[in-house]
């Protein structure tokens, strides 16, 4: 993906954005509200070399399927360029577009939905040949269809030719879908969760088939999956997506054994594994994925990040800064106020609110002792290593909140609890064999000394 060799890449994606406008309701129109688009893919760049399998991983809603559909031209990008075999795909002549549609194919997630129930297997697989004028006679098409069906493990083909999809099992249907994609002899196939609807015992068969066909047909794959173990099995290189950004990309084994981006780290910690038993670390991330309609500023991941970077003049610990930032984020989201604490501490309601605001919504192993005792509703202030000015700012903010003045609370925190992660989007930078979009690496990493992710940009 980083163009490590001299071959010309088959697919080049440059700074691609795809925004979806949502139709506006009448109330919004009357009130003159600006439409807020969903930023499904937001500035993604990468390359795919011929013969490679690139994995795209991420949680639901991160934009991976949209990215796949952009590459096969089911969507037009809002911004940026996509080049296939050197030609920009948004700017094709009719003749070139025909060729593109033949050379690029897609396999969809659900073989129960992607096959027409009223077409036989033969009709389904034959159709792309007809559309692309690839075989002159019926006999030739029939010969070609049989050949491909046998290639995808549906042999003897005669048994399957006249079958309808409802007579086939899930694994057989997905093989038909693969045959339909391959019958036109494409160069590039986008596979969107190709086995997630299949039973475990037959998944491996489809995956191995895809690997074998890659050699036989000389294919290049883009393999989209939320399942990181599948990505590891199938893909030499991978990109991890979060809220429309590709936050880390590089060789799959390196990303998995030594994730650089704090989000990748959390993602891999969260995967349960048969082999690890009880010793697995849990994912150190707060909260859930925010809405792509109004993503966080700067690094999209900074509100959840375990290694968020304190300002240069921060004299306390990184953990204390992470907590102070959580306080600020709660104020911004109006998630904190006098009503969110039980008021049991009547002697010092301000302190109670500060201690409540500094809590982290993380697995138990990352919580402090008091958080464990109070079920995560308070953290003992003495256990948080805050600089005195930050401490003052937090108390001022809490007091303002108790007085019902949210703006004053935000004003008190402004300039004290602030981070580069929130202000600037981290442009891609190199970390080891990877490209990472994170301020911890490169020039900005100087202040990240006490963070858990070592700021070691070079190692290979």
């Amino acid at each position: 993906m980083d163009g490590t060799d001299d071959r010309e890449p088959l697919v080049e994606v440059e700074n691609v954005r795809k925004l979806f406008d949502l139709s506006q309701g009448i109330v919004d129109t009357v009130l003159g509200r600006e439409p807020q688009p969903v930023r499904a893919v937001d500035g993604v760049s990468f390359e795919i070399q011929r013969g490679d399998t690139i994995g795209i991983a991420g949680e639901s809603g991160c934009g991976k399927t949209t990215l796949g559909k952009l590459l096969v031209k089911l969507y037009e990008p809002t911004e940026g360029t996509i080049r296939f075999d050197g030609r920009e795909i948004t700017d094709l002549t009719n003749e070139e577009e025909r060729e593109f549609r033949q050379r690029v194919q897609m396999i969809f997630q659900d073989p129960f939905e992607s096959l027409n129930p009223r077409m036989t297997v033969f009709n389904t697989v034959e159709e792309p040949l007809k559309i692309n004028d690839m075989a002159d006679s019926y006999d030739e098409r029939r010969r070609r269809v049989k050949e491909v069906l046998e290639d995808v493990g549906l042999g003897p083909a005669d048994v399957y030719l006249d079958a309808f999809p409802d007579e086939l099992s899930g694994g057989e249907r997905q093989r038909v879908a693969i045959a339909r994609a391959l019958v036109v002899d494409p160069d590039f196939v986008v596979c969107d969760e190709p086995v997630s609807m299949l039973d475990v015992s037959i998944r491996a068969g489809v995956l191995n088939l895809m690997k074998r066909l890659q050699d036989e047909y000389g294919l290049t794959y883009l393999f989209i999956s939320h399942d990181l173990s599948l990505i590891r099995y199938m893909c030499g290189r991978a990109g991890i997506m979060y809220l429309g950004n590709m936050i880390e990309k590089g060789p799959t084994d390196d990303i998995i054994t030594d994730p650089k981006h704090p989000y990748s780290e959390a993602l891999f910690d969260a995967v349960p594994d048969v082999a690890l038993g009880d010793e697995r670390r849990r994912a150190n991330a707060t909260g859930e994925v925010p809405s792509p309609r109004n993503p966080p500023s700067g690094c999209r991941y900074h509100p959840r990040c375990a290694h968020v970077i304190p300002p240069d003049d921060w004299t306390g610990s990184q953990d204390a800064f992470r907590r102070a930032l959580q306080f600020k984020l709660k104020v911004e989201r109006s998630d904190i106020g006098p009503e969110t604490v039980d008021g049991s501490d009547t002697s010092d309601p301000t302190r109670e609110l500060v201690e409540h605001g500094l809590t982290l919504d993380v697995p138990e192993e990352y919580r402090s002792e008091t958080e464990m005792e109070t079920g995560g509703s308070r953290v003992d202030l003495t256990a948080v290593d805050l600089p005195s000015d930050a401490r003052e700012a937090l108390f001022d903010a809490a007091e303002a909140l108790n007085g019902g003045d949210r703006d004053a609370a935000l004003g008190a925190l402004d300039g004290v609890v602030t981070t580069v992660c929130e202000r600037e989007y981290p442009e891609p930078r190199t970390a080891g064999s990877r490209s990472v979009e994170c301020h911890l690496y490169g020039d900005d990493a100087t202040s990240a000394t006490d963070s858990g992710v070592a700021a070691a940009p070079t190692e290979d």
Binding site: E172, D273, E288
Partner: protein, 385 residues
Amino acid sequence: MTLLEVEDLSVRYAVDDDSAVHAVDHVSFDVEAGETYGLVGESGCGKTTLAKSLIHLLDSNGYVESGHVWYDGTLPAWEDDHGEAKQAVIDDPDKPVRGDGKTDLAALSNSQIRDVRWRDIALIPQSAMNALNPVYKVGDQITEAILRHEPETPKQEADDRARDLLERVGIEPERADDYAHQFSGGMKQRAVIAMAMACNPDMLIADEPTTALDVIIQDRILEELEAIQEEFGVSILVISHDISVMAEICDRMAVMYGGKIMESGRTRDIFEETSNPYTLGLKNSFPTITEADQELVSIPGTPPTLRDPEEGCRFRARCPFAIEECHSSHPPMYDVEEAIETGRLVEAADQRAHRSACYRVDELDTIRTQATKEETWTEQTIESR
């Protein structure tokens, strides 16, 4: 102490033309108090049917054909002051209560089972994300469950309990006044767990508790289930197709295939001392994140249809180790340790022992070695049988 004893349970679904789908076929297992028991298997193996049949939640064409579901507890009307079954009830031959006070849930009427649901056994349904009513406040839905099953509770107390429960699963109590659409996916899942705990049941049935969730949220929900179990000492019966999730949370588990339990025992034994060809095949076929350069091998063929199934082992058509005997009848659950130590096939007397339904469990060494080889599982070998 055994909380639930499922004894030789068979569940069928009636189909139009007098035939029946044998969704669960002669299944026996025990769940101990306070443990997590897993039912793992592919889609259509009968795991959800089995769990639903325990508390009479089957679809209208489903019915329990035979067998018992002995539960350590009884109806409120049959209890004495200590919560034990009254002697008069035990002695009454018309009441399905055994000498040790266990009640046969399968023999209860639909109105009787309502006193068991939620109070004794609560269900976290498969699509928990959609289990909340969109037009009621989340807190009110929990309060409603409490009031339905404990009608003597004052409204205010039920409301407070609902808030406590939400807080217990990591949701701020004032969110009780929100509606489901104001909750994120993980919060909905937590709210459903809180709702299941509303009447402090002894057993939770969690059907695919994390399937629709993203991996980081799944991680947190699994942690939450463990914490709840630790705090309330509740038994959890988990149903999932995800073997790695099961490996992580279950103390003991049963691997189901075609309506039968193929192998059961302690989770560790199932993974480290795998003793059934189906489990061995399953282990070969899913990738793990920790291993580089794996070779996956799938099980050839597809799961069987359960409509009036033929005699013989349910797995034989896909099994590379099938022998003549496998065609005659489905094997009983043999004691694995006994087979390894003495080389004899003995039916397991203890449901909790490591059991495997395979006629060749006495040849485990050979089978385990063979199962790791790819050529063992290729289609040709099996078709020739």
